[in-house]
Amino acid sequence: MTAKGFLLRDKVALVAGDSKAWSKPVAEALAGAGANVAIAAKGSPRLTEAAEAARKTGGKAMAIPTDVTNAAQVEEAVQKVIAAYGRIDILVNAGDIHFFQPFVEIKSAEWDKVMDYNFKSALNFCRAAGKHMLERKKGRIINVASGLGERGMANGSAYCVAMGGVLQLTRALALEWALQGITVNAIGTGWFMEPGRPSDETLARYIPEKRYGKPEEIGSLAVYLASDATEFTTGQVMYVDGGLMAHA
């Protein structure tokens, strides 16, 4: 159940980016709080499924197949949402692909792909939706990133750099748009369960709450940050990680 102050009744949310983990639970949570939701990601059964899940909660939902790494297609996707729903109040950048390899073995093309999906996708959508939000002098941008944007991990170079970029984009845009009614915040994720992938028990024991997160546990923070209750909160990273980031 969503607290009264966090309801998103009649707001328009765009959930953008390719991710096995986040698109569906985030879209479902925003729709569950009352928002009309559009999801822009690579055309796939996963995208259709996410839109259907959001629709089931009662609101309107649309899927927009998009190459999120292509600025022109992203611009088009944003225009489609505005044409269909009249505006965009909330942008959630949920792009997140995993890639962990020894640094010297990473090919340039692989490096570019990780940057494209984890960082450039967010950049493209912030620019396209940001222009629209600047005109309206109102908006909420929420970037789903990772604790690895702040911490290092062996074999994580490409992922860490891309997510670090998302966190710095969050802070820089928060300041740039501070007087324009647009807040920009990030959700820092920890270790989460993935469909078809068993959790690593050693890692689970390392997490203070002794378990992996469930993807839907990201949704409630997205709703909170998307709500009118957070107008004084900007440029921040909030972690949903079972206490991981407090670890030595």
């Binding site: 740039e176 004084f232 900007t234 909030m238």
Partner: protein, 277 residues
């Protein structure tokens, strides 16, 4: 029905300012509230406001720097309300330090500043920790300040204590996680609690009421926060919506801590041609 229906929440420093607005916001969502502070009459006003919003309320005069009084507060809350679900350590003195040269600060000044802003949070959390551990469920919230992350001229005790509050959050979160106790920290920036402030600090707050004034005080969004902005942060952290959130540092400061590399509002423009020249 509210999302906090049936929850009992203890708020220290609950007579005024942020404590009072948190009490009202949480009561709106169905919580019953115990407020504690030294002075009883503001506490009674908060309690009356909670009752108007449909919640049960209890006011307990408490000095959070006195362990015996703190323990009595927890006992009394349990006796009268039957349980405690959340403790919010909000008591503190905003600045509360008269400008003094460093060499004039007495041991007593130092102790009071650290006690009220840091030790009190530890005493209260300690007092409720055994109870939370035994029932294998609990939620502790601390209130720090943006000042706990940065320096401020002459603000020795306040800034040091608030930095301590941030790390006390992390240590408690790691230690108590095995008992299913979550511990998180709210970090308010410049929030307008004018009517509760001593006269000298009211001047600072009044100056922040214009956009230019707010920017001078490092608030990029150009306006100060409302006490209810912080009430809503507390609501999120008290509710089940934050079940996997512990050791979280929830900063709501109008963008202040995201910046700090240049004066607020500074926005240089340099072309690539100039940059490469």
């Amino acid at each position: 029905m509210g999302t906090l229906e049936g929850k009992v929440i203890v708020i220290t420093g609950g007579g005024t300012g942020l404590g009072r607005s948190m009490a009202f916001r949480l009561a709106e969502e169905g919580a019953d509230i115990v407020v504690a502070a030294r002075r009883l009459s503001p506490l009674e006003e908060t309690a009356a406001g909670v009752r108007e919003r449909g919640g049960k309320a209890l006011a307990v005069s408490t000095d959070v720097t006195d362990t015996a009084q703190v323990n009595r507060l927890i006992e009394k809350a349990l006796a009268e309300m039957g349980k405690i679900d959340v403790l919010i350590n909000n008591a503190g003195i905003v600045r509360g330090e008269r400008p003094k040269s460093m060499w004039e600060i007495s041991d007593q000044d130092w102790r009071v500043g650290i006690d009220v802003n840091l030790s009190g949070a530890f005493y209260c959390s300690r007092a409720v920790s055994k109870y939370f551990a035994d029932r294998k469920s609990g939620n502790i919230i601390l209130v720090a300040s943006g000042e706990g992350f940065r320096g401020q001229r002459n603000s020795f005790m306040y800034n040091t204590a608030k930095a301590g509050v941030v790390n006390l959050t992390r240590v408690m979160a790691l230690t108590l996680a095995e008992y299913n106790i979550r511990v998180n920290c709210i970090v308010p920036g410049f929030v307008d609690t004018y009517e509760y402030q001593p006269e000298e600090y009211q001047k600072v707050m009044a100056a922040a009421r214009t956009a230019a004034g707010a920017r001078r005080l490092f608030v990029p969004v150009g306006h100060t926060g409302k006490p209810d902005d912080i009430g809503y942060v507390a609501l999120f952290l008290c509710s089940d919506a934050s079940d996997y959130v512990t050791a979280g540092i929830f900063i709501s400061d109008g963008g202040g801590l995201a910046g700090g590399f240049a004066t607020t509002g500074y926005a240089p423009v340099v072309s690539l041609k100039e940059g490469l020249a």
